[in-house]
Symmetry: C2
Subunit: 198 residues, 2 copies
């Protein structure tokens, strides 16, 4: 039996992310993707059931999965509060700097109903990547280091500013300004940490 050409599989993923980032999710079509990847449309259907399946797998495996793995690198729930948060921010910044196209699909996950649903179902099935961070926060809350809030609020306060800054960072690359430096990112992280400390 003829083996799969792994280069072609990767081309599908890479170029799909590229089209989504540059032209938008609403402008990705199977035929456009096939042409850009220099393959036949049929080839996409060997790996993916249909377009929805492709999008969900791209989002869940390629983007969410890789991000979650990257953000938890060298992090563990026993760290000091400030140290742990800093590590998570640094990891997120580094990962997305090197995966700009993934960042855009990540953002689509917050608006597209299809992807948002996949995100929620994944959290239930795979048991929430947030678990170590959850333990980390709960421990510091119990110890009285930080103020007590629901996990969702922690998530919002601690991480959404990082996403916003990364978005701004990419904007800076396109335009003639250079606002979001490592220093600004680090100072912002400090501010966020301070807000939660008791």
């Amino acid at each position: 039996m003829r083996p799969k050409n792994l280069e072609k599989e990767e081309a599908i993923r890479t170029i799909a992310l590229q089209i989504i980032a540059e032209e938008g999710l609403e402008n990705l079509s199977m035929q456009k993707l096939a042409k850009a990847a220099n393959i036949s449309p049929r080839t996409i259907y060997i790996k993916y059931e249909n377009k929805e399946d492709l999008l969900i797998k791209l989002f869940v495996d390629e983007v969410l999965g890789a991000y979650e793995k990257a953000i938890l690198e060298k992090f563990n729930a026993d760290m000091e509060f400030a140290e742990g948060v800093k590590r998570l921010w640094t990891n997120a910044f580094r990962y997305f700097k090197n995966n700009r196209h993934a960042f855009v699909l990540m953002q689509y996950g917050k608006s597209s109903p299809l992807l948002y649903k996949a995100y929620q179902e994944r959290d239930i099935k795979e048991g929430d990547y947030f678990a170590p961070i959850h333990r980390f926060l709960e421990r510091h809350a119990k110890a009285g280091v930080i103020r007590k809030l629901p996990q969702e609020a922690y998530r919002a306060i601690l991480f959404s500013p990082a996403f916003d800054l990364i978005n701004e960072y990419f904007d800076c690359l396109n335009r003639p300004k250079q606002l979001i430096t490592e220093k600004v990112f680090s100072d912002s992280c400090d501010a966020v940490i301070k807000g939660l400390l008791k």
Copy 2:
């Protein structure tokens, strides 16, 4: 001359937002919109040049414009820091609670290249709705009340958590949990304020 039927114009806007919120931007078609609004496709083209024009005008006028107006209500640059931020958060929460569909298109503005571009160009042309908030922050930074950061960092730290919490709030409405109460929203706002205070 026969006058425009304003009800039909509003139906187009309302139902377009509804389809986008429920099925996604990538699943809005002119024919689907026309059928759902009980009009002929041609009628959409009386008011809007084409689909892109419709989307941009929906996003800029209907969503961004209304949001910016709502968030600045009873706010002015001379307020105390904590008071001002609280007002902005309260305004944002109230506005989106009553305009759930607008919130989804707002989120698409952070991922869709078409909408993101429109957002940036609007800021340049209309002179940035953020101006009063900008003055407010600059004043408190100069007075030594808050730490000095670029405007983009202020924006990220102060407002992106509010968006995230609003998103979570809508999620709570769908699922059997009730986490994001006014209290949690208010406590989160306090944490964000404290983080920026010197």
